[in-house]
């Protein structure tokens, strides 16, 4: 089932959470809504779920072309998973998962044994079949979130909405669970939107990433598209580390060869990822931006170097392999030359 949100506006008092946002999600996709806190991503998700309403007179929500703007949350057939699980604390895991079936009207309600069957099937799907009799407080965070997912799936939703589903978990569990979610998505193939502020998470498991900032959608694309071709400085900076060079420093270093020619604007800023910076030992006459090595952080597969530009004393971060680092044989405070393999600048937006 595809999801469309058209021109959604939402204000809380004088605060604008969403200013005319459009979103289209194709059927069966796994889409990440990515953005910093306060960008409006959770509000958009809650409006899609029907837990929040867009401002009167603003846009519509459509599921598979059908308008559901005025349909209450309980009738939209959405599965919603909350950041803090929101499991019913006084019910066992089994009762939690069965809840959505038990509250149905008598003629729609499955029989007792059907409910038990379905709940057990779901507990198996989330790999927690032995924990049906436990209470939520007896489970770990990762287990709770999987139960929350099973509970949401029990009502056979048409779309699955997850609000920062792994936000409250520690790093290792988070990584495991997001791979598991990806696998689950391939099994059940439900149109899924999940909200996250973790770019790594979004890029790793989503088919499509929607990047939001300040109540607007900044860019939509596959993880590779948004990472390789960010459409704005914000997206560039939000997806991974980035160095910002003033154009003058580049001009001084050479004839603009270090950035894509023709894209530079006067007084513009040039964005370079740390792994797109090559480092060479300093030789007089050679091309490059002179810099001094200030700090080496070599834990992990890549070495992260902090360098200070000689020209303007601004700091630059570069990432090279540890083999390369050894090969260069650098010491702290050595003078080196920086070369930019790939750089990007953006036309300044003069519109007010």
């Amino acid at each position: 089932m595809s999801i469309s949100a058209l021109n959604i506006r939402k204000t809380f008092g004088s605060y604008t959470a969403l200013s005319g946002v459009d979103l289209h999600v194709q059927s069966g996709r796994l889409v990440a809504l990515l953005g910093p806190s306060g960008s409006g991503k959770t509000t958009l998700l809650r409006i899609i779920a029907g837990l929040e309403y867009a401002d009167a007179g603003s846009g519509r929500i459509q599921f598979h072309g059908e308008d559901v703007t005025d349909v209450p949350a309980g009738k939209r057939k959405v599965g919603f998973v909350f950041q803090h699980y929101a499991l019913f604390r006084h019910m066992t895991v089994f009762e939690n998962v069965a809840f959505g079936l038990r509250v149905r009207r008598r003629r729609d309600r499955p029989s007792k044994s059907d409910i038990a069957d379905r709940v057990n099937r779901l507990l198996k799907l989330v790999q927690l079949e032995s924990l049906g009799g436990r209470y939520p407080s007896q489970l770990s965070g990762g287990q709770r979130q999987r139960i929350a997912l099973a509970r949401a799936l029990a009502v056979e939703p048409k779309v699955l909405l997850l609000d920062e589903p792994f936000g409250a978990l520690d790093a290792k569990v988070r990584k495991e669970l997001r791979r598991w979610l990806r696998k689950l998505h391939e099994e059940v193939h439900l149109t899924t939107i999940f909200v996250t502020h973790d770019q790594e998470e979004a890029l790793e498991i989503a088919d499509e990433v929607v990047i939001m900032n300040q109540a607007k959608v900044e860019q939509v694309g596959t993880p590779q598209q948004v990472y390789d071709r960010p459409s704005s400085p914000f997206v560039y900076q939000f997806l991974g580390n980035v160095n910002v060079f003033r154009e003058q420093s580049l001009a001084l270093a050479g004839n603009g060869v270090y950035a894509r020619p023709g894209r530079l604007v006067e007084d513009g800023l040039v964005y370079v990822r740390p792994h797109d910076i090559a480092i060479a030992r300093h030789e007089t006459g050679a091309d490059g931006i002179p810099a001094i090595l200030r700090y080496v952080h070599a834990a992990g597969p890549q070495a992260r170097l902090t360098l200070e530009q000689v020209q303007n004393r601004e700091l630059v971060e570069a990432e090279i392999s540890r083999v390369e680092l050894e090969h260069l044989g650098l010491k702290l405070n050595d003078l080196v030359l920086l070369r930019l393999r790939q750089a990007r600048s953006f036309e300044q937006d003069y519109a007010i």
């Binding site: 949350a73 019913f88 006084h90 509250v103 009502v155």
Partner: protein
């Protein structure tokens, strides 16, 4: 005596989370504080309580039980139970409704409502009684329209009903409701606020109606807090003196509740009977305390972590 012996560091082995050494005080400080606390407790709480029972039983068990044979005492007990039976459920419904509004929704004037809920705690009970006199009394604002008579505002039927509020049971009930107003709401508001709305939202997305959400999710989550609020409310409803004393008119056998009956009997130098009735109220207090501890214990049991 449970637990392992003293460890090498000289830290006393205590069960559970023993007080860390750094924040423990010298022995003499602890002894002094403990003695002061126990003396205070003994003089101001235990001694009076013991005195109530001692006085009540001064002339023997027979005289004690004989005190309850008095029809006025019967009617006082009956009236107290009746008042509590009306006031407690009324405040239960009000308290849940108010806590629900305040904890789950944002609206204009919310803080004003919270302040008003506390009003009965801030006002002296005597004033509460006087307020009702002022409103419903014969010389009051609404009083003249309530008794039988010929008033243009109301229809013929209403004028013939002869509704009595002041110096009658309805007044006592109203004053009691007013005084015990905050107990349930006060208990539930912080509880519901910490629990947040997520579980209700979850129930909603799973297709539950508002009514189902309330009975299956909200109410089970607050049941111990609610029970706690209700027993405190009940204790106060049965023990209320000031407000009821003003509005009841203390008509013997008709508008005296137990606390008023105690005063009447004592003023008549019938101290055994006075203390016998008082001992019932004291017993009620003890039962309340036991229930309260039980609820606190249960509450800690049902929420191991969360």
């Amino acid at each position: 005596m449970a637990g392992p012996a003293t460890s090498l560091a000289g830290k006393p082995a205590r069960t559970g989370a023993g007080t860390p050494r750094v924040i423990r005080n010298p022995l003499w400080v602890r002894v002094v504080f403990m003695t002061v606390a126990l003396l205070f407790l003994g003089c101001f709480l235990l001694l009076p309580l013991a005195a109530v029972f001692a006085e009540a039983l001064r002339k023997g068990v027979g005289a004690y039980f004989h005190s309850f044979a008095d029809p006025d005492v019967h009617s006082a007990i009956w009236l107290t139970l009746l008042t509590a039976a009306i006031a407690v459920p009324a405040n239960l419904v009000f308290g849940v409704a108010a806590a629900w509004c305040i904890a789950k929704y944002d609206f204009r004037g919310k803080s004003l409502l919270v302040t008003f809920i506390d009003l009965p705690f801030a006002v002296s009970p005597v004033i509460s009684g006087l307020i009702y006199m002022l409103i419903f009394g014969l010389q009051g604002w609404l009083g003249p329209y309530l008794g039988s008579g010929d008033h243009p505002w109301f229809g013929e039927w209403f004028n013939q009903q002869d509704i009595k509020i002041v110096f009658a049971v309805p007044g006592i009930v109203l004053a009691t409701i007013f005084v015990t107003f905050p107990f349930v709401a006060r208990e539930l508001i912080p509880l519901m606020q910490t629990q947040g709305n997520d579980e209700e939202y979850a129930a909603l997305t799973l297709g539950a109606s508002g009514w189902q959400t309330f009975w299956r999710v909200t109410l089970p989550n607050i049941k111990w807090g609610l029970f706690y609020g209700v027993i405190l409310c009940n204790a106060r409803a049965m023990g209320e003196f000031g407000a009821v004393s003003v509005i009841s008119g203390k008509i013997r056998g008709e508008t005296t509740t137990m606390p008023l009956q105690v005063e009447i009997l004592y003023n008549e130098n019938n101290s055994v009977a006075a203390f016998a009735v008082a001992s019932l109220l004291a017993l009620l207090a003890l039962v309340t305390l036991v229930l309260k501890s039980f609820i606190e214990w249960r509450h800690a049991q049902t929420r191991p972590s969360a």
